[in-house]
């Protein structure tokens, strides 16, 4: 059996041995080590802590009084230019930049929040206004064509532009008619449908327009009645609140 050295037993006495439980167990079973430890314990226990002379509560003050005069005063750390000036300036600038950025973001958010509502409110009137302007323009041109047709006397100089104008109006008329049907406006749709027939006849006469053809159209297509309908429609458009300040350049009968 390996016995403990004096150093190991001293360490055990002071509770600084790494394996205290093992040491204790060994001491229980080893008379030699137990005897050695008992001697160490007895010797060290006999060494009582040295009692220092008593010092009252005023002792600390007395020590301070003795040393205070020889102590210099620490100077408060001077703030460097960086700490004293630059950092406050940068802080101020950062705060300003933050405020500006915040205001910008808030403005964008506010604008973004307003935009859809404004669009929703304004979209329908604008669209309606455009439709009315286009329709009024179309009826204006159609009215002038019908007036020309009413007063035509077979002069080729008058007839040729009428056919071209009829072809030009035909495409626009079909769009307007389709829109009138979608808008559930039967009066307008009927008038435009009637106009479509007249324009188609004018635009697609195989032998070209002549005095006889014009007379036939005036009679068969009742262009006078159609002219009246167009004028009524134009007056209705002029009274519509969405028409705005648009003024047609309508012709005269």
């Amino acid at each position: 059996m390996n016995h403990f050295s004096e150093d190991e037993l001293i360490a055990h006495f002071y509770g600084e041995d790494a394996k205290s439980a093992v040491t204790r167990q060994h001491l229980d079973g080893c008379a030699q080590c137990a005897s050695a430890f008992a001697e160490i314990e007895s010797d060290l226990s006999a060494l009582k802590p040295v009692e220092a002379p008593a010092r009252d509560e005023a002792y600390g003050g007395a020590v301070w009084t003795r040393i205070a005069h020889s102590l210099p005063v620490y100077e408060a750390p001077r703030r460097s230019w960086i700490h004293g000036r630059l950092i406050p300036i940068l802080s101020y600038a950062a705060v300003c930049a933050l405020l500006v950025a915040g205001a910008f973001v808030a403005g964008r958010q506010w604008e973004h929040a307003r935009q859809p509502r404004a669009t929703a409110e304004d979209k329908a009137p604008v669209q309606e206004h455009v439709v009315l302007v286009v329709l009024d323009d179309h009826l204006d041109r159609s009215e002038r064509l019908l007036v020309q047709l009413k007063h035509a006397d077979g002069d080729s100089e008058e007839i040729s532009p009428m056919r071209d104008e009829a072809r030009s109006l035909l495409a626009a008329n079909r769009i307007c008619r389709q829109n009138a049907s979608e808008q559930d406006d039967p009066a307008l749709a009927t008038a435009l449908d009637h106009l479509d027939h007249v324009l188609a006849e004018l635009a697609s006469q195989p032998g070209g327009l002549n005095a006889a053809t014009i007379t036939r159209l005036q009679n068969e297509m009742k262009t006078d009645g159609l002219l009246f309908e167009v004028r009524v429609l134009r007056s209705r458009i002029a009274k519509h609140p969405g028409a705005g300040n648009h003024r047609s350049m309508g012709g005269t009968a």
Binding site: A52, W64, I67, L71, Y74
Partner: protein, 193 residues
Amino acid sequence: MFRMGKNDHATIQAILCGDKEAYGTLVASHSGSLFRAAFRITGNEADAEDVVQEAFLRGYRKLEGFESRSNFGTWIYRIAVRCALDRLASRNGRQERRVAEANDPEQDEVQLADETAGPDRLLLSGEIGALQEAAMQSLTPTERTAFVLRHMEDRSSEEIAAALGIHPNAAKQAVFRAVHKMRLRLAALRVRA
């Protein structure tokens, strides 16, 4: 162990900002414990007084290097131990005593301060404390300081090592050597008794 309140850190900050008088509160708080340790190490009241003053003076000069996470009580205690060790070494030098680190019982007999009371007379007079002090004078300053811190101040080897600025194993060996020498002295007393 010393416990450092939040006030100690605040006080140190105030001192470093120019409030010298604030140091007085730290001196008043820790003087008692420093004096007790200094007296046990030096074994002399006047030396202990000087050690306390020297420790606080050194502490004040080093205060800028004090780390805020440290405990001021532990920090100034270590400084005081160093001061006491220096005081012991200086005193031993003045008395021209030969200090040996060797663990030789015969040499210990030579090292013992013979002008002080011998074991026989101490036994007869029953002055156990004086005998103990005589035995402690056979120790080197490092051994004595290590023994006082271990046996009387109940400091661990790590704390002793930190206070003495040596490795923990060296601190342990210093304690072992001190106990060994002390026991030799006590053994002689027991035989004569």
